[in-house]
Symmetry: C2
Subunit: 491 residues, 2 copies
């Protein structure tokens, strides 16, 4: 179907497209989030009647929510109007939901980040945060959905990500006939790893998702893992031919549709004054070759091992000393979670160690920037010779799609086999195992010595793929899957 | 088939049934190993013509190997004769094979023990230890097998465990028609976790195993994981109905046959002087209730979390202070591997912390013994009220089968859902999630307050199961699977 068939949709995500605050003069100001999901769903808003339900996350969000009984109209950056409903959860429940269950536990579990010998200790605090935080917040979302459905029927409800695994079940109980879809933006681990959670929790998560009519993932690999774990943990039956699961007498389609970026947005950004300014600053301190990584400081991104791999490369290639820099532009992330604070410390320690070992007058082998500076990141996208994406596990990894779009040096992509984007871009990247630091060192050497013609053909292929499989195409696929009259498209 | 049909078998395992040393007078002495596998295969030797190929592990083993050209006759504890062939590997190759690849890497991988954010760093040292250690030692085993086959044809070759994943492939290349079987005694992790190893290593492991005609595991769960990972990693085709894999035009049967114990051996042991002596010593310092754990000090055994769970129990049940002890009888294991040395330190620290918190004049809540003392373990088997087996992951766990056989107090088994034995004994145990310390604390309380009649009926059921499904039955199943004239039995 085309996006011209206008649908009435309810989108539900924890973080919404806007957030409210007060400025220095006490005036209410709106911040339009650059978050991946908000960007991704912008074009949905442009072509359909959307009510977006999200958490009130700031004090001012709560004030806005209190001023409205239900949804209110907002006009997005592109001038398209949609209805926004901010749900003001109980603050204590939200803290348990967000800071105990969703981010430390579910995120860690879904990226295989636990040191199982020592962590986690599932204790009363986690059981309690689940039953008194994750469950009621999901119930709160479900109630907001059913209230919106009462106000006006919708063609479909579209839930997003690991914060909202139970909400489809609660909506299904109240509205057996409404069409529900869920998209999971993170990796789906295999059944054994779900055993880190007690039986009732891992069952509830699968059961909650399976209350949807369709569940989407970025890759065939995560889809396969989900179908198998749904079979193992709640006894769903896999139909591999129809790419669906049977559960409670219903058929749930399970799709693999990788999200993407808006190429036009990056074309514009690349030519913007802020990016050109940042580019001049980077240019001024540029040696012959630049290896770039752009990441949040998330343990899943594998930043420390990247530094070790680069160290092995420098060890083997003294001829490149003074000629190369590893530019690590890192956005500080989730510092309220101890493992994240510790991980930044580990990153800084490792960078200092490698720099101390190899630095010379006027040359620092690692240029580390821990800062939220998007124009600088885009400027760096234009300027790299090698882009290193070596994530331990990653749902997709948008950097691997964004950076080649605007790169001006035929830069080579080194890509982890465990990043979701590898299913699409692997043929044109140098594939690395994220745990194999010696292979990553060799890939850096191979990338820096690759003939121009090969570099060019690889990056052109990546660009064509991303331009063809852009964000609009992904949104179209999602809408097609939501439309009750159409069988979902599948890859 | 019955074990009376005498077969000519070659058994291959890294550790053999005997080991040689020199005593104080310089005389050669033979030590007959109590290792699980050696015990398990003893009855094989009693009923069939067996040539057993194993590594020469001591200096004296090497001297014995050098005195013989190939195999020589040995007479086992039961008086049955078999041929033994000790393979004297290159010492440096063996060190890489054993201390770099097999025990730290493969064991850690197969029990999900890595802290993936930090470990492992697959580097040149590991690649080198693989190609110059694991590969040539497996090739050495394969050459010993083909030499034995040249000497005398065999009905089948039976490989054991994670040390020998490549040997079947090397034998298959040299002898396309010989019947090969492999039994894996450890858990089989799912495909994502195999990605910790570089592509060529994880492929070689699957390809090596699939050169066998049959592959055996202790549980349906490990079998399922193997069938799926063989599909994902080397493109084998799963036939779930026939419980087999198609690979290279051959059909490989994949069986789930849990190993067991010899009940008669434990009946005898329980009445032995050494055990009775140890029992009197334990009795002298016994409070009202005893919780027992008997384990190697292996991180997979989850000893630290067990102490935390017990701490939570003591916290909630002040009425039981002075009335209960957690007796942890731990056999020190693999102390040449740093993670194991660190784990013993963590165990001691945690025990000291819990004891410091709760101890009173004349009462120490945890009784920790780090010592290899099998008579003491059997004496403790007889005397527990609760047996705690909370392994993170465990191929089977023989303690869960051994201890109930001789227990005299209708002791209750608390059993991890991730221990292989749970597939057989789960119905009669209190099941716990190994990561859930609060649930383990509750299980301790439930076990200590369980009515006598229920405790009795549970332990009787476990005993009947183990006596019926004993070691002899397991050996029969293995032999049936080895016999070229018979389709393998399957659970």
């Amino acid at each position: 179907m085309s996006r011209r068939e206008r649908l009435k949709l309810i989108v539900v995500s924890n973080r919404g497209p806007v957030s409210y605050a007060r400025d220095a003069d006490g005036e209410r100001v709106v911040r339009r989030g650059g978050g991946g999901l908000a960007t991704a769903l912008r074009s949905l808003v442009a072509y359909h009647d959307v009510t977006w339900i999200a958490s009130a996350m700031t004090d001012e969000d709560r004030a806005v929510a209190a001023e409205h009984d239900g949804a209110f109209e907002d006009v997005g950056r592109d001038g398209a109007a949609y209805d926004l409903r901010l749900v003001a959860h109980d603050a204590q429940e939200y803290d348990w939901f967000y800071n105990v269950v969703s981010n430390p536990v579910l995120w860690f579990l879904q990226h295989y980040l636990w040191d199982l010998v020592q962590q986690p200790n599932v204790d009363h605090a986690l059981h309690h945060a689940w039953s008194e935080g994750y469950v009621p917040v999901n119930r709160g979302f479900a109630e907001a959905v059913t209230e919106e459905l009462d106000r006006q029927p919708a063609d479909a409800v579209f839930f997003h990500d690991y914060h909202l695994y139970l909400a489809p079940r609660f909506v299904r109980e109240a509205r057996p006939d409404v069409r529900l879809a869920h998209f999971v933006h993170v990796p789906w681990p295999e059944a054994d790893y779900w055993h880190v959670l007690p039986l009732e929790l891992r069952r509830a998560i699968h059961d909650g998702l399976l209350a949807s009519d369709s569940v989407g993932f970025h890759t065939r690999r995560w889809r396969r893992n989900f179908m198998r774990s749904a079979e193992d943990i709640v006894g769903a039956s896999c139909d591999w031919t129809r790419e669906s699961l049977g559960y409670e007498g219903r058929r749930i389609s399970v799709a693999a549709t990788p999200i993407s970026v808006e190429p036009a947005e990056f074309d514009e950004l690349a030519a913007s004054e802020a990016v050109l300014d940042a580019g001049r600053a980077l240019e001024a301190r540029r040696p012959e070759k630049v290896i770039l990584r752009v990441d949040r400081t998330d343990p899943s991104k594998n930043i420390v091992r990247g530094f070790r791999a680069y160290e092995l490369y420098l060890e083997a290639h003294a001829e490149m000393h003074r000629c190369v820099v590893l530019r690590a532009l890192l956005d500080p992330s989730r510092q309220e979670i101890p493992q994240y604070a510790e991980y930044i410390a580990a990153i800084q320690r490792e960078a200092r160690r490698v720099n101390a070992r190899f630095q010379q007058e006027g040359w620092m082998p690692i240029e580390l920037s821990v800062d939220d500076d998007f124009p600088q990141s885009v400027a760096a996208y234009k300027d790299y010779d090698v882009l290193l994406v070596n994530a331990i596990f990653d749902g997709l990894n948008l950097v691997a799609k964004e950076a080649p779009l605007v790169n001006e040096r035929n830069g080579v992509l080194i890509l982890s086999e465990n990043a979701g984007a590898h299913e699409e871009l692997g043929d044109w990247a140098l594939t690395v195992n994220p745990f194999d630091v010696s292979a990553q060192a060799e890939a850096i050497h191979a990338a820096l010595t690759m003939p121009e013609a090969e570099r060019q053909s690889r990056i052109h292929a990546i660009r064509s793929w991303v331009r063809e499989h852009d964000l609009a195409a992904w949104v179209d696929e999602q809408v097609a899957a939501l439309d009750p009259g159409h069988a979902p498209l599948r890859r």
